[in-house]
């Protein structure tokens, strides 16, 4: 099924080292649209990432820091980047060799399309 987010996700997945991208509902933790490589458990990943993003957003608010601009989680074998707007979270999963700067620029650009 085609969604308005297909093109945005396609641009992200074409970045070097990106192995998955998806749009997730922040409140439900359910995938709205995704472009994932084999091996990424989409529903599980979406539920946990949405929860992580929501908690980060609430923590930033509680600390008086305002909204979360860009969330990056560095793990042993890769990283997770997330950015959100209006209850939607755009998530990218990347290998360690990925250029986070470029991914961040693309995600900030894509943020406009999330509304």
């Amino acid at each position: 099924m085609k969604t308005p987010f297909g093109e945005m996700l396609g641009v992200l997945i074409r970045q070097r080292g990106v192995i998955g991208s998806m749009v997730v509902s922040e409140s439900d933790g359910i995938i709205v649209d995704s472009n994932l490589s084999i091996g990424v458990n989409g529903p599980t990943f979406a539920a946990l990432t949405a929860s992580l993003y929501r908690k980060a957003r609430l923590a930033a608010q509680a600390a008086g820091l305002g909204g979360v601009a860009f969330l990056q989680l560095e793990a042993e074998r890769g990283r997770v980047c997330a950015i959100g707007r209006d209850d939607l979270v755009l998530v990218a999963v990347a290998e360690p060799r990925a250029n986070v700067g470029l991914i961040r620029v693309e995600m900030l650009r894509a943020l406009e399309g999330l509304a």
Partner: protein, 156 residues
């Protein structure tokens, strides 16, 4: 968090589910409405009502699914303004059980579904094998129901 079980084997997987999924209320019941375990209720009458309603919803949704798709629906989710419910069956060698979970913004449907899958596996693995039972009669049903509620709320 109040927690009570009628059958001990339900407790470990249900406790894990409540902790992981951050649900406010969780019920494990038989499709007939008999409760096996509960978390989050403080009054027996609430458990009884919730079990009766959950069993009725499951039965109605199941028949609706059979009419539309030829088989019963799986999980059912209803989102309220503040709270949401998730109701789904768990298939075990012994019987089918129902799980009712109530959650708010501290959790999400995705998380509840994720940990429900673990709960299903846990219940299926822990459930004892079926034993020969006499048919359930109306009189027995009420007695069994009251016995379960008494066990849950410490009046056994």
């Amino acid at each position: 968090m109040t927690f009570a079980v009628v059958e001990n084997w339900v407790e470990p997987p249900l406790r894990r589910f409540v902790d992981d999924a951050r649900v406010l209320i969780a019920l494990v019941l038989h499709p007939s409405g008999q409760v096996l375990a509960q978390s989050g209720f403080t009054r027996a009458v609430d458990v009884m009502s919730a079990c009766a309603l959950a069993a009725a919803i499951h039965a109605s949704a199941g028949e609706l699914g059979k009419m539309l798709e030829g088989r019963a629906f799986g999980g059912l989710h209803h989102a309220g303004r503040e709270r949401q419910i998730f109701l789904a069956p768990v298939l075990t060698p012994r019987s089918t059980f129902l799980v009712l979970a109530v959650f708010d913004r501290e959790s999400s449907l995705g998380l509840v579904q994720l940990y429900f899958n673990e709960l299903s596996s846990g219940i299926a693995a822990a459930a004892p094998l079926p034993v020969e039972q006499a048919p359930v009669l109306a009189n027995d049903f009420e007695r069994e129901l009251n016995r379960n509620l008494a066990a849950l709320f410490g009046r056994a």
